[in-house]
């Protein structure tokens, strides 16, 4: 990839240039940096494990204070921020102050997460470089993620987090979750604990979430502080100053803490060594090596080589930290090996570590498509031209509130979509009340019923979309307009109902064979509520239906025919059917929605009836029988809808216009000068459009426009409102034949067809 586009990308406006330069460096020179980076990351892992041990003894705020103090001491010593460089203005001091506050908060979150879910998980979650997180966020929240590879990386990342959340049975933490109040040393940690407890998750899961949050904060913090570091004169100087300021910031707090609470630490002197290792490994060495490597190597390579050793060493230490072998490594030699099995390795952690490594690898790799350049075309020399402007200029996304407002306005404009929308709102409201109540009372039946309602709502949403889209203007691709979408949506809704009927049928058969015990006391209020909601829906939609029916009677020419057709439908079919076929007046979309509501109503009625039967007579067989009956009823009511939609989709001659068109074609036959016609096609395109095409052969002395107008008039009267006519004369066929010798056979065929049509005309349509 790179070689192929290399030249062009370089010629492009600097977009991909940054990533391409260092590629050519000999890898031998990079090797030592890579080794250095790996070693540093390994040491960082050691430092974090160490600091977890430290945090058991030392209060978190004190710990951070000491950390910052040590770091500030070293960095001030090395960088000499006051003696070198330009002077810092008051404005910049304020910014540095903000920087320090943000840094303190992030490290507080970080180390609190460390205490919650242990060093291994902390390392896995938090030690991602900025580039990984940024490309993850860009995949998740922008459309231009950078190809399937990045999407895969993002999916791996999410899977890894989910693995940590769900499949990591960190049992010991769950035991520790019942923390006594006295365990909390300060108001701060207590606050965080209560926040996590409020979320209703176990502590280590709360830690995972906290760390993800902290990771995002860290990346945002780094990005935001980039400009400040340039202003101040280098990232190192900024770091030194910021650490110094945060030491001053934390100082009063630590003093208050140490005065008010008694320390658990026996001798601070024995802790000097561990603190020194933590400060050196976690803060200073990591920072300096990172900054060196990012200068010498590309950022992406740096991220890739950095993430691998740290995750691997985290896994290793996770297994061996409490083992006697590592005792030499542990600077803080606890006297007793309390058989600490806390935060041990579990299957979920290993899997998620693998996924994290993979995702870090994928996400940090430079995107192959140069940058986001889009191919515009080719230059005169034949080299491809790319547009590096980015999508930011192209899709000027409107703000979300405005978008919602506009689409709401669109929805409310017309009665169909308005009705669906209101009913959808009602349904959703009911669903959420049900779900909420289900969660509150911990009733599984209610929750699953709520999910069922959501499932049903999807049909309503589709109907709403179809009703909206059907009003869009015709485009180049949708040359007839979008009206047909309503029919397609009606068809899909019909299929949906058939699927529902099928599942209900299967379940009821299974229950007939093996009737389960069920408790009925909770079902009745829910189904009554559902029944009320659905009855409201039926009232609204049937009102709409009668309205639409009246309108169609007024507008279409064949109203009486239409009506008689419906009456026929009424008398022919049974009771359950009548609703469906009565809906013929409205469009297929509304019919589909209506049937859906009807099916739901039937379901509620069935539940109520079967509940009554079970409670009164103890007939447990009533429940499957009822649902069997309902399934059949749903299926029967859907049949006409699907049949009609199929006919329209197959471009059938609209049945209600058959007679008129037949008469009209006979009339056309009698037009003066007309020899014959062929290929008469008439079909319903959407609810309002009936389209047609016809080829007409005329004698050569007739004026075409007159013929066209006559034919148009006749067919318009017959109800065809989108007509295309091709008028052919003798000369047309002559020209056709005169074109080239290869077409002779075709001419023969055409002639033949013409004569054939001529004699068969009378019988062609019926």
């Amino acid at each position: 990839m790179e070689e192929k586009y290399g030249g062009d990308v370089l010629s492009g406006p600097g977009g991909g240039g940054g990533g391409l330069g260092p590629v050519d460096l000999p890898s031998a020179r990079l090797t030592k940096y890579i080794v250095l980076l790996c070693f540093t990351k390994f040491l960082k892992a050691v430092g974090l494990f160490e600091s977890y041990d430290l945090l058991k003894a030392v209060h978190i705020v004190q710990f951070i204070f000491i950390l910052k103090l040590g770091t500030a001491f070293f960095m001030v010593l090395f960088q000499k921020p006051f003696s070198s460089g330009k002077t810092i203005t008051k404005h910049q001091w304020i910014k540095i102050f903000k920087h320090a506050v943000a840094g303190c908060i992030i490290s507080l979150l970080w180390f609190f997460g460390l205490t919650l879910c242990g060093p291994l998980r902390t390392l896995l979650l938090f030690e991602h470089s900025d580039i990984v997180v940024i490309s993850l966020l860009s995949v998740l929240f922008t459309s231009s993620g950078g190809g399937p590879a990045k999407t895969r990386g993002a999916a791996f990342f999410i899977i890894a987090v989910i693995c940590l959340l769900l499949f990591d049975n960190d049992d010991l933490m769950a035991k520790m979750a019942e923390h006594p109040e006295g365990h909390h040393d300060s108001a701060l940690t207590h606050m965080l604990y209560t926040a996590i407890a409020f979320l209703g998750v176990a502590d280590h899961k709360g830690g995972v979430l906290l760390l993800v949050l902290a990771l995002c904060c860290k990346v945002g913090f780094h990005t935001a502080s980039r400009k400040l570091s340039i202003d101040v004169g280098g990232a190192k100087r900024l770091q030194a100053l910021s650490h110094l300021v945060s030491v001053l910031l934390l100082c009063p707090w630590v003093i208050v803490l140490s005065v008010t609470t008694e320390s658990k630490v026996e001798s601070w002197f024995s802790l000097i060594m561990p603190f020194a290792t933590v400060i050196f490994f976690v803060m200073i060495l990591d920072f300096y090596v990172d900054s060196i490597c990012s200068v010498k190597m590309e950022v992406s390579k740096c991220a890739r080589y950095g993430s691998f050793p740290i995750f691997i060493s985290a896994l290793l230490f996770g297994n061996f930290w409490t083992h006697p072998i590592t005792d030499q490594l542990r600077a803080m030699n606890k006297a007793a090996h309390q058989e600490s099995t806390e935060h041990v390795l579990s299957g979920g952690v290993v899997v998620s570590a693998i996924f994290f490594i993979l995702s870090a690898n994928i996400l940090s790799s430079p995107s192959k498509r140069g940058q986001k350049g889009t191919l515009i075309g080719y230059s005169p020399e034949g080299t491809p031209l790319y547009n590096f402007m980015g999508d930011a200029f192209q899709h000027s996304s409107q703000s979300i509130p405005r978008f919602i407002k506009e689409s709401l306005k669109q929805i409310l404009e017309e009665s169909d979509s308005r009705q669906i929308f209101y009913f959808l709102c009602l349904n959703l409201l009911f669903t959420f009340v049900e779900l909420f109540y289900g969660v509150l009372t911990n009733s599984l039946g209610l929750i699953s019923d709520g999910f069922h309602m959501l499932f049903d709502c999807s049909a309503l949403v589709m109907g709403l979309f179809a009703a909206l889209m059907s009003r869009w203007k015709a485009t180049r691709i949708f040359s007839y307009g979008y009206g047909r979408i309503e029919i397609l949506s009606g068809f899909i809704n019909g299929l949906f109902l058939i699927v529902i009927a099928f599942f209900v049928f299967m379940e009821s058969v299974a229950r007939l064979i093996d009737p389960p015990e069920l408790d009925t006391h909770m079902l009745t209020p829910v189904s009554v509520g559902g029944l009320i909601v659905n009855l409201i829906g039926i009232c609204a939609f049937s009102h709409a239906h009668s309205h639409a029916h009246g309108a169609s009677q007024g507008s279409c020419h064949s109203s009486d025919h239409n009506h008689s057709h419906h009456m026929h439908g009424h008398s022919d079919h049974g009771h359950g059917h009548s609703h469906g076929s009565a809906g013929g007046g409205m469009n297929a979309n509304m019919r589909g929605v209506f049937l859906h509501v009807l099916a739901d109503t039937l379901g509620s009625i069935g539940v109520i009836v079967s509940t009554i039967l079970i409670e009164q007579f103890g007939w447990f067989i009533a429940d499957p029988l009822c649902s069997l009956f309902i399934a059949i009823l749903i299926f029967l009511s859907v049949v006409p809808l699907i049949k009609d939609a199929c006919q329209v989709l197959l471009l059938r001659l609209p049945p209600e216009y058959e007679k008129e068109l037949h008469i009209a074609l006979e009339k056309i036959q009698k037009i003066e000068g007309l020899i014959s016609y062929r290929d008469p096609h008439f079909w319903r395109h959407s609810a309002s459009i009936v389209a047609g095409t016809i080829h007409i052969q005329v004698t050569s002395d007739v004026l075409e426009q007159r013929i066209v107008q006559q034919v148009t008039g006749i067919l318009k009267d017959a109800g065809v409102n989108n007509l295309t006519i091709q008028v052919e004369k003798e000369a047309y066929f002559q020209h056709m034949s005169g074109l080239s010798t290869g077409f002779h056979d075709v001419l023969a065929m055409t002639k033949q067809m013409e004569s054939m049509k001529y004699c068969k005309d009378g019988t062609y349509i019926m």
Partner: protein
């Protein structure tokens, strides 16, 4: 669930008619194989459903739905045989080729609805994870996988093969293509195996089986029952990903949209005609829509187009009543030399007319362009008009050359030829191949 062809004949005794049609199809030897596979499929699905309820695994259920989808695709194949035998009836004046499209659409949508159902079920299962028995899980997986692969590879399913190639790639295909590209970067020898576009159905079968194997492993090792739900969701999402592009493609055919390849050809044609023409063409198009076609323009256009896309000309004219007049002097080609005075302006209609027809003829079924009863004749009428127009246009164009405006004109003719003869010929071959031995 044979809704697709249940309602083919809505008359009273449609079971009788169905039986008759069925006999018609069954008379063909080729359909025997399909029927055999259908029977095996039914048996297989029955067993799988039994195992689903005995293992209580929703992932296996999701995978079983793919087998049911196979049944639909076999039905679609039968329908496509039936369609080739049927002649257009008076009410279905376009013939029944669209039934094939409808069948593909219905089966892909049904598969997606099944996946939606699985999603709903697994959302419920996340609240209360039931125990999964792994006894028949692996057996079921391999039975379903081998049967699916066997069906996919041994039956040549014309409609689905066409759709899966014509529709845009699913995300599953994209990821596999991306992976295999990087794999081929390491081992170049594999490129002949991995680089061609993968069959989406084979892909989803393999991926689903893989997910089920992982499920089995994890449940066996550590009793992670939640894996079952997770892999059910994964299979459902993959089903969505695979089916969605196909249902969009066939849905667009059903919605009578302009087929995308025609648009591509048109764009190419316009580009070949030169940018001047493109610009002018738009102006001319507007004029036509407004029905303000000047007399001269209209004579030129009518001579060039009436035979070709006459029917398309009429539509704009109809919109504005009085000007309907402009439609029709197609035989008066003796007027042609006249318009040359106007140079480039007069040329517009030449290029504009080919663009115009693009909107009206929608794709009728997968292999047929436009609304044609008799494909052969129609194809010719569509190609020929261009050639015809060119013949007539020659005089004007040569004159134009003398005036120094000829270059675009020639470009235009070239474009017309290459662009438009290509489409029908492709269709033509498709049809011809498709009918004798599908």
């Amino acid at each position: 669930m044979g809704t697709i062809h249940l309602f083919r004949k809505p008359q009273r005794s449609f079971f009788g008619k169905l039986l008759r049609e069925f006999r018609l199809v069954a008379a063909d030897r080729r359909s025997w194989k399909i029927l055999l596979f259908g029977v095996i499929n039914l048996i297989c699905t029955g067993f799988l459903l039994m195992w689903c309820s005995s293992t209580n695994s929703i992932a296996l259920t999701a995978y079983t739905y793919l087998t049911i989808f196979d049944l639909f695709s076999l039905m679609t194949c039968l329908i496509s045989y039936w369609v080739t035998m049927r002649k257009p009836s008076p009410v279905y004046s376009f013939g029944f080729e669209r039934l094939e499209v409808l069948a593909v659409f219905a089966s892909t949508v049904l598969a997606q609805l099944g996946a939606l159902f699985i999603l709903k079920e697994s959302a419920e299962r996340f609240l209360e994870q039931p125990e999964i028995h792994t006894g028949r899980l692996l057996v079921g997986t391999f039975v379903a996988l081998s049967f699916n692969l066997f069906t996919m590879l041994s039956i040549r399913n014309k409609p689905f093969a066409y759709v899966s190639e014509a529709a845009s790639t699913s995300w599953l295909q994209e990821h596999v293509a991306d992976l295999s590209r990087s794999l081929c970067g390491i081992i170049p020898g594999l490129s002949s195996i991995f680089l061609p576009r993968m069959n989406p159905f084979v892909l989803i079968d393999l991926a689903g089986a893989f997910a089920l194997c992982i499920t089995y492993m994890l449940i066996e090792i550590n009793n992670y029952f939640a894996v079952d739900t997770a892999s059910a969701i994964a299979i459902a999402l993959m089903t969505f990903g695979t089916m969605y592009p196909m249902s969009v493609y066939s849905g667009k055919v059903l919605l009578q949209t302009t087929p995308p390849h025609v648009i591509g050809q048109l764009d190419k044609l316009i580009r070949e005609a030169g940018s001047v023409h493109v610009r002018i063409r738009r102006d001319a198009n507007e004029q036509m829509v407004l029905a303000h076609v000047t007399n001269r323009l209209y004579t030129l256009v009518s001579t060039l187009t009436v035979q070709i896309f006459k029917d398309d000309w009429i539509r704009p004219a109809l919109l504005s009543g009085p000007v309907a007049a402009n439609v029709l002097n197609f035989s008066d080609h003796h007027i042609i030399p006249m318009p040359l005075l106007k140079g480039a302006d007069d040329l517009n209609p030449v290029t504009s007319t080919p663009a115009k027809p693009s909107s009206p003829p929608p794709e009728f079924s997968f292999n047929t362009p436009g609304k044609n009863v008799n494909p052969v004749i129609l194809l010719n009428t569509q190609t020929r008009p261009y050639g015809f127009g060119l013949n007539h246009g020659h005089t004007p164009y040569s004159n134009m050359l003398n005036q120094g405006l000829g270059v675009p004109g020639i470009g235009a003719t070239q474009g017309l030829r290459t662009g438009f003869t290509n489409i029908p010929s492709r269709y033509g071959t498709n049809n011809r191949i498709g009918q004798p031995r599908p």
